[in-house]
Subunit: 494 residues, 2 copies
């Protein structure tokens, strides 16, 4: 398969032709959520970005194994007030169990992802479920001389590694300028160098999540899980590593170092990073306290929200920007996204209604135009998954589809092949690739059809009170009745 | 809390007063699915049984930590035709990855459970995620002299254990009569005794899922995961261990042996087992090839099915029998369950519509009768979670509720307290405890209200064609219009 797909590789800072290591197989690893809180708009953007990449690669014919992890080795501690002794005597059931917290937020994350029509990854491994693999990788790194043990903890020796490797290449940082990552819990005094990071941490007495290891009871460092799990499920070198831009340093830089120090090979060929969601120009994130959770968006319950926004509206909002651009949150932008999504939903509805009949004379100019409009729709996605451009091109195609629907243009001027191409291009790109199809506007057909029948009779009898009444029943459901020359139909209100 | 709840304990073969080890905390461990295939009716029964127990214990005020595992350490092997060499040379991505299979079926299981309105357990640990804990437990059992190592595998020494423990007590079996469990893969020649079971198995070259251990590369035996994970999350001794009756031997018997041999204590105080689903008197199960998957039930696509059955119909079907009785599958029984569920759904709908007004004179006899009918509804559940009896009692209460709804009885003859008790008893038991509430009959209120308005006008104008037409719109959605003396309403068709 000769690839027409270009992807921007953070590693080279260039768009490169996408050439999988062993086509048609593609291995993709993406950093998933930390499940100690609810998903917010930033999580949604990362998940939707790589969902599009996953869907489009599959659409192009690749066999993708998509691994997205769950970071569940958290830093929950027992209540310090109770003292170590009291905690030790408490029955298991009375103590806080981190895995209960993990399960709760994992379930909630999954429910949000389902609403956003984000496909489940092929494998969703958790850090806590791969302690053995992380211990093994740490042993390997120690054996190769790139880590050292201090008082029950193991640290990666960044200086030693950097002497023979390009530490900082991915994130474009220079070693001398770097200061220690802020995620380090403690242990600065145990390290040879402030840049060194933990592969394994000795557990303090109040630390709940802990496992046996060759270095005593402890827990793995945060960067290690992704290295261990990507190698386990995708091999030591795989095609794509993705994540949010804020993970580039230190997380991804450390992953590269860990992989090279243990497996002696770079982990991923292409590194892809999605940009942030901003709010008044500032990054939206948990640490800044300016985030909006997905449930708040779905319900409208947040001081920054003027109304509730449906999952598909949010998906559309995210897809309207290229994943490498920042995307600024505003109610205006979400309202526009709502309109845009409804336009697409109406397009999906009407193109499914259109039928073609081969008898009329063909219009070669129109046929050529439609073919071109269809082909163009792929260009955006093929150019580093630029959904913003593809959506604009789909709207251009939709204008024609609307003309066929309202009979301004006769659909039979197309040949069968072009008609089907138009239908498939629109439906496959909107529903399958962009994943814009599953919004559930509850609509029992018999009620809709029934009311439309009664509406038509009322209109014929000039019972305008009843006509208005029925129109308002539709409006209450977010629908409008369309009176067209060739008949009556309904549509989503845009 | 003085417990009024009685549970049948398989261990004692008696109903016992339920007294948690450290009330109000309750720890419950239930054997979950093996995720190498789709959930069938048998899985649904186990899940729904313990869902009711979980819900009812919470309703009684207990703080329940409910752990249900995922058995994912399967026996997938690489294709034997390819030979070991070829497999070794294959890229990671080209090989079968068991965790991909596991993820696929786990996701499908979760989706089915959600449809059945089965609550997620507090923790859902997987066997593959707890290898370290299983190795540690095996080491402990070896250290205590109840297991031996042979050629890279570790076996539990049943004879040695039985010399000082009551092996067979749970399942009521006598050691001498026993033969080896049929789940054993191989290794009969490695064992001292045919009853010995594997704690750890050496992995053959074609075995894919494998981990490092003190005994070489291998994988844990099937019984071990539940012992290791229940102890980890609930403590060495916890309140309830549940599962299907078919797991009593060898699985649960082995769990008891493992726990006693490592932790020197019996794992669970109460052992609860749900009975099987039968089909023409024979157990429904994967091994017998006579099972019906949940998706087949939901879609009606199976030669034994006359039609599709909704998730709530199936839930109701299962709840109509006590969990310790066998439940025979038949289309007739499912059709009856569909009717029964719709009756409950209508009851929920109308009791939410009923309002009370305190001015009328009270009828003390009626008040006493309603109070009694309400109290009785708890008796079934308190007697070993007998949902069959509670459902029958709810139907008796519903008769009265219907009389109030149709105004045969004046609701204002009740005092406010009794009215609220009736409302709460019915709603809490049906929706929260029996979990019968979430069936989604799509019904945009404005369409229903709109059509009912038009229906009423048509009836007043004696336009009987239109009246019939609107009735048929409702019928198509599974609803009926109710013409009552005091007004027009709709209901689910029973």
């Amino acid at each position: 398969m000769v690839s027409r797909l270009k992807v921007y590789n953070t590693l080279s800072r260039e768009k490169e032709i996408f050439t999988p290591i062993s086509s048609p197989y593609v291995g993709m690893y993406v950093c998933g959520p930390t499940v100690y809180g609810d998903a917010h708009l930033g999580h949604a953007r990362a998940a939707i970005t790589f969902d599009i990449i996953y869907r489009f690669l599959q659409h192009l014919g690749y066999k993708v194994r998509y691994v997205r992890n769950i970071t569940d080795v958290g830093h929950l501690e027992n209540d310090a007030d109770e003292g170590e002794d009291k905690i030790g005597k408490k029955a298991k059931l009375e103590k806080l169990e981190p895995m209960e917290v993990v399960q709760y937020f994992t379930n909630r994350y999954h429910r949000v992802m389902e609403k956003l029509n984000v496909k489940s990854p092929s494998i969703e491994p958790s850090a806590s479920g791969h302690i053995l693999e992380q211990i093994k990788m740490t042993e390997e790194i120690i054996k190769n001389g790139f880590a050292y043990v201090t008082r029950g903890s193991v640290y990666f020796d960044v200086n030693k590694y950097a002497a023979s490797n390009d530490y900082g290449k991915l994130s474009g940082r220079v070693l001398d300028d770097l200061v220690a990552g802020s995620r380090e819990l403690d242990g600065q005094k145990e390290k040879k160098n402030s840049l060194d990071f933990a592969l394994w941490k000795k557990a303090s007495p109040e630390h709940i999540m802990r496992w046996d290891s060759p270095w005593g009871e402890g827990f793995p460092g945060w960067h290690l899980e992704c290295s261990a799990m990507s190698a386990k499920y995708l091999g030591k070198t795989f095609d794509i590593h993705g994540g949010g831009m804020d993970l580039m340093f230190p997380h991804h830089e450390c992953e590269i170092a860990q992989a090279k120090a243990s497996n002696k090979t770079a982990p991923a060929k292409y590194w892809l990073h999605n940009n942030m969601i901003t709010i008044n120009g500032q990054k939206m994130g948990k640490s800044l306290g300016n985030f909006i959770t997905m449930d708040e968006l779905f319900s409208g319950k947040h001081e920054l929200l003027e109304r509730a926004y449906s999952p598909m509206t949010i998906r559309f909002f995210i897809l309207q920007a290229h994943y490498r651009s920042t995307l600024d949150f505003s109610n205006e932008a979400l309202l526009a996204a709502n309109k845009g999504y409804k336009k697409i939903a109406n397009g999906i509805k009407i193109i499914k209604q259109l039928t073609h009949n081969g008898t009329a004379e063909k219009d070669n100019k129109l046929i050529e135009e439609i073919n071109k409009l269809c082909d163009i729709c792929y260009n955006g996605l093929l150019d580093d998954f630029n959904t913003a451009i593809t959506i604009a091109d789909l709207f251009n195609l939709l204008k024609k589809i609307n003309s066929f629907y309202t009979r301004q243009l006769n659909i039979d001027l197309l040949d069968e092949e072009t008609f089907l191409k138009m239908k498939n291009t629109f439906l496959i790109l909107t529903e399958e690739v962009l994943g814009l199809s599953n919004e559930n506007i509850a609509r029992p057909e018999s009620f809709i059809d029934g009311l439309l029948l009664i509406y038509k009779a009322a209109k014929d009898n000039k019972e305008y009170d009843k006509v208005d009444q029925i129109r308002s029943f539709f409006k209450n459901e977010g629908l409008v009745i369309k009176d067209m020359k060739h008949g009556i139909d309904w549509a989503y209100e845009e």
